[in-house]
Amino acid sequence: MKIAISFLGLLLLSVACVQAQDSTATRRDTLRTQTQSGDDLLAGLTDSVASAQPLLPDRMLLTQRAFWGRKGLFRVMGIAPLTTEGREKELKIRRTMLITHQITGILTLAGMVAQGIVGAQLYKAQGDDYVRIKRTHEAIAAGINISYATTALLSFTAPPPLVGHRRGISSIKLHKYMAFLHLAGMITTNILARAIKEDYTLKPYHRAAAYTTFGAYAVSIIVLKF
C-alpha cells in the first residue's frame, strides 16, 4: 500500500515535470489561449458597458420637439413611432434634409450677392432703367425669400440629431446664433421694402438691414469651416 502511494506521488511529479518541459505544447497553445483570454476580457467589458443609447437628445429645437419630441405631433399621430428602427430612418431623413438645407443655403447666398449688385444699380438708375431694374430687384427678392424660407424650414423641422446641444461655444452654435440675426434681418428688410412705397426716406434703413442680413448670413456659412 505504502509503495502504491509513493508510486502515485512520483507519477504526479513526473507528469507535472513533463508538462513543464513540453514547451512546444505551450507555444502551440499560446495563440489560442491569448485569443480566448482577449475575448473573455472583452466579454467582461461589453457586459459592463451600458450600450443603450438614448433615442432622442435631452435638448432640441422647439420646432423639432413639436414634431419629433416624445409627445410630438408625428409620435401622437403614429406617423413616426419612437423605436430604434424608426430613429434610424429618421436620421436618414434628417441627413437628406440637411444636405438640401446646404444646397438651398448656398443658392440663397448667391441670390443675396446678385441682389447686392442689382440693389446698388437701382440706387443710381433713373427713368426706364429704374423701372426695369426695380422689377429685377423684386424678382430676385421673391426668389431669395422662397429659398431662404425653404432653407430655414429644412433646418427647423428636420428630425432631431442623436446628440443634443452642449455647453460652450462651437462653430455650429455660432451658425445658429447668426441664423437668429439674419432671420431678424430678413424680416426687417422685407417690412422696410414695403414701407418704402409709403415713405421713401426709409430706403437707407432698408439697405442697412439688407447688408446686415447678408453679413450675418455669410458669417453663418463661413463659421462652418472651423
Binding site: 504526479l12 513543464a20 485569443t35 482577449g38 467582461g44 434610424e88 440629431p161 442623436l162
Partner: protein, 184 residues
C-alpha cells in the same frame, strides 16, 4: 499510512504548482486618466474627437511584467469633437444605434528590441471585424502602466459612408491615437 499519504499529496501539489508559475491577473484601465482620440480631415478643416470613456482590460503577468492580452471597448457616442452637430453626423454614419461600440481584442503581441509592442488583433468597427496591427509603447511609473500608440482606420474598409459638408467628403483615413493607463 497517513504520513505517506500526506507526503504524496505534498509532492504532487508542489510539482503541479511549479507548472503554473505565472501570476497573471486582470487589470482594468483607469478611466480618469485614459483617452482615445480620432483625427479626421475635411478639405475645409481638420478636427479631433476625444473619448474619456475608455473601457479596457489587460491580462498582466506580474512576474514577467508582460501584458498577455488586451481588450478595449468604447461607446462611439462617447467621442466629443466640441461640435454637437458634427458628433451627431458621425453617429449617423456609424449607425451607432445599431453598432454602439467599437472594440479591439488582441491576439498576439510582439515586443521589439526598442521596447515597442506590435499588438495584432481584431478591430470591430461599424459591425465589421478586421485584423489590424497596433504599434504601442509601454511606460512603467511606480504603480502605473501607460500604454500609448496609434493606428489608421479606413472608413470604406469598415463600410462607413464618408461624411460630407457642403458637397465635399472627408478623407477616408481616420487616425486613431490612444493613451490607456492601468493601475498595477
Amino acid at each position: 499510512m497517513a504520513k505517506s499519504l500526506f507526503l504524496c499529496c505534498l509532492m504532487g501539489s508542489l510539482a503541479l504548482s511549479f507548472t503554473h508559475p505565472k501570476a497573471v491577473r486582470k487589470v482594468m484601465a483607469d478611466k480618469t486618466a485614459s483617452v482615445v482620440t480620432y483625427t479626421m480631415h475635411h478639405p475645409m478643416h481638420t478636427w479631433d474627437g476625444v473619448s474619456h470613456d475608455v473601457n479596457s482590460a489587460i491580462r498582466y503577468d506580474d512576474e514577467s511584467k508582460k501584458i498577455e492580452s488586451v481588450a478595449v471597448s468604447i461607446r462611439v457616442a462617447s467621442f466629443n469633437s466640441d461640435n454637437a452637430n458634427r458628433d451627431s453626423h458621425a453617429l449617423e454614419v456609424l449607425e451607432s444605434l445599431k453598432y454602439p461600440n467599437v472594440t479591439f481584442v488582441s491576439q498576439t503581441m510582439q515586443i521589439a528590441n526598442d521596447g515597442t509592442v506590435a499588438i495584432q488583433g481584431n478591430l470591430t468597427f461599424h459591425g465589421v471585424t478586421k485584423p489590424i496591427t497596433v504599434q504601442a509603447t509601454r511606460k512603467y511609473e511606480s504603480t502605473t502602466l501607460t500604454v500609448d500608440g496609434g493606428f489608421d482606420v479606413s472608413l470604406t474598409d469598415y463600410g462607413v459612408v464618408r461624411p460630407s459638408l457642403l458637397g465635399m467628403k472627408t478623407d477616408d483615413t481616420m487616425k486613431m491615437k490612444f493613451m490607456i493607463v492601468f493601475k498595477l
